[in-house]
Symmetry: C2
Subunit: 319 residues, 2 copies
């Protein structure tokens, strides 16, 4: 029996629900509802131990990580979190110590991601399941569809670390000890670009969280904006390039087809670059300018003056 | 190893989180945040197939049932739903047909419970997990703590059907065919008293959803209101009494220590009874006046002019 992809599941449910008519919703980073002149923004993300946690991940790291995706998705839309609920599915063999560790992870996440956990639900389940729900309130939301001709394409940090980290955790790749730790931490202790996202709201034309992989993210922004995206430089570092070389990985695939990076990918008018770089300094993140927006369709890599179409591939859960 | 009760899990997480200081929250039916002069109310509830679904329950009924608890919890606080998110954990062997059926259940629930599903998340998991999150907006919220001396204690319908239904589904009890169907439907297709709850907001002093069982619900209202609750009549029907008799069940336990009834238990000033009964007629539910509120503590059953303390026992997931 052919297994269903995440997209197939979503499409199927779409078809049956009334949200069919307003399809921006399930397909965007967040869902929104207008209240007067404000926008209420929602995001939920389910963490399942058996599919989402490498075996080296500690229980408190799972709790912490279950929040990062919601926090990042709201931040890349310029939304600050207002409150959060956590639904727990707890396996029978969970001990009091495990629960205490879970709680420690939530407390850490509350401080780090500025979420305020005000309620939740607990259940018994076969697998450890942590479903995080965050709501935020905003006056303005950054969309995926606003990119204009001439805009610069930026990322809030380097790519390749999480893919490298996953391979290292699975003992499938060699790495120098410094890089080893850094790459593993990207998987076990992912960061979110909160302050940068919240500040970016006034300077960008479109933005999206990159957790499905850089290529998918670029295609999504390009398709929703109905523009051509030209990439001329990979957002990565020398140590990632070295890691790729040692392990004979294609650096383009490592950077473009990874996932779970939680970086913000955005388009900005050229005139805002200085302000965005200054915001990045304040938010302690390193911005990469990776290309620009043109009339047309598709996402292309500029190599030796030629344009090659980038493969639209990335991270998929249910495949 | 001793297994943890749901309460122990919640207490442990409480201890670690900042919500310790504002403990009404995880312990009430819903969580709330003030926005200007409005109240934003949240509720999440996780449905796990292996622990929550009798084997006779169909996939579309699971999807539908996953919404009823949130809808009921908001309604008993007088809150109308604004929007809903659904997080799905889908097992590997789920077919396209299963997903279509799931979607059909959500569509049914959307119409029946007036929830608007605007987004969600899909994942792979060992068990079918449906986590429903609903948010509502209100000007006023019915609390658990407002019962006054002399108030009448009412329920929005009869008790005993869901416990009977569960026993029938497990082939542990005999029943006449009419009652059989009705009791099974209470488990497989639970209803929520939405219109009654929304209307009740102006007439009650305290209210709570009864899904943890009637005894637990009465104790919770009594403790939070710091009042004594005297029950003089069980909210049930002749057919439930007959079912208890046939199967030699204690009718008091069947009615008081059930669970998943999704009825509203509330206290109302005597002068509001007529209005409440008229509201019940309009909302097509049958109100039972089961007792009254006095100075003191505890929940008691009046039998032959004596007061017997009601056992504080009910439905617990993780036990």
């Amino acid at each position: 029996m052919k297994r269903l992809s995440e997209k197939q599941v979503i499409d199927q449910i779409y078809k049956a629900l009334s949200i069919m008519k307003k399809r921006t919703l399930w397909n965007d980073d967040i869902s929104t509802v207008k209240i007067g002149n404000k926008i209420l923004a929602f995001k939920c993300d389910m963490f399942v131990r058996s599919t989402d946690a490498p075996k080296q991940m500690k229980v408190w790291q799972m709790a912490r990580k279950s929040i990062v995706s919601c926090a990042s998705d709201l931040a890349c839309k310029g939304v600050k979190p207002l409150a959060s609920l956590i639904s727990l599915g707890i396996p029978r063999n969970f001990t009091q110590k495990d629960v205490a560790e879970l709680a420690r992870g939530f407390r850490k996440a509350e401080r780090e991601f500025y979420v305020n956990i005000i309620g939740g639900d607990t259940n018994e389940s076969k697998d450890l399941v942590i479903d995080c729900f965050v709501v935020g309130l905003a006056s303005k939301i950054i969309k995926r569809s606003g990119a204009n001709n001439g805009d610069l394409i930026i990322t809030s940090g380097p790519f390749g670390y999480s893919s490298a980290g996953l391979r290292i955790l699975q003992n499938k790749a060699k790495a120098k000890s410094n890089f080893r730790k850094k790459a593993k931490d990207t998987v076990l202790m992912p960061k979110a670009r909160l302050e940068f996202g919240w500040g970016l709201v006034n300077y960008v034309t479109s933005a999206m969280d990159s957790s499905d992989g850089l290529a998918i993210t670029l295609y999504e922004l390009s398709e929703q904006s109905k523009k051509k995206f030209i990439i001329d430089s990979l957002p990565t570092t020398d140590e990632v390039k070295e890691f790729a070389k040692i392990n004979r990985y294609d650096i383009h695939r490592l950077v473009l087809q990874g996932g779970e990076e939680y970086e913000i990918v955005a388009t900005i008018p050229k005139r805002n670059l200085k302000k965005v770089l200054s915001l990045a300094r304040k938010s302690k993140c390193r911005v990469f300018v990776i290309g620009h927006v043109e009339t047309g369709r598709g996402v292309f890599m500029k190599r030796n003056k030629k344009q090659e179409r980038i493969e639209k591939r990335g991270w998929e859960h249910l495949v």
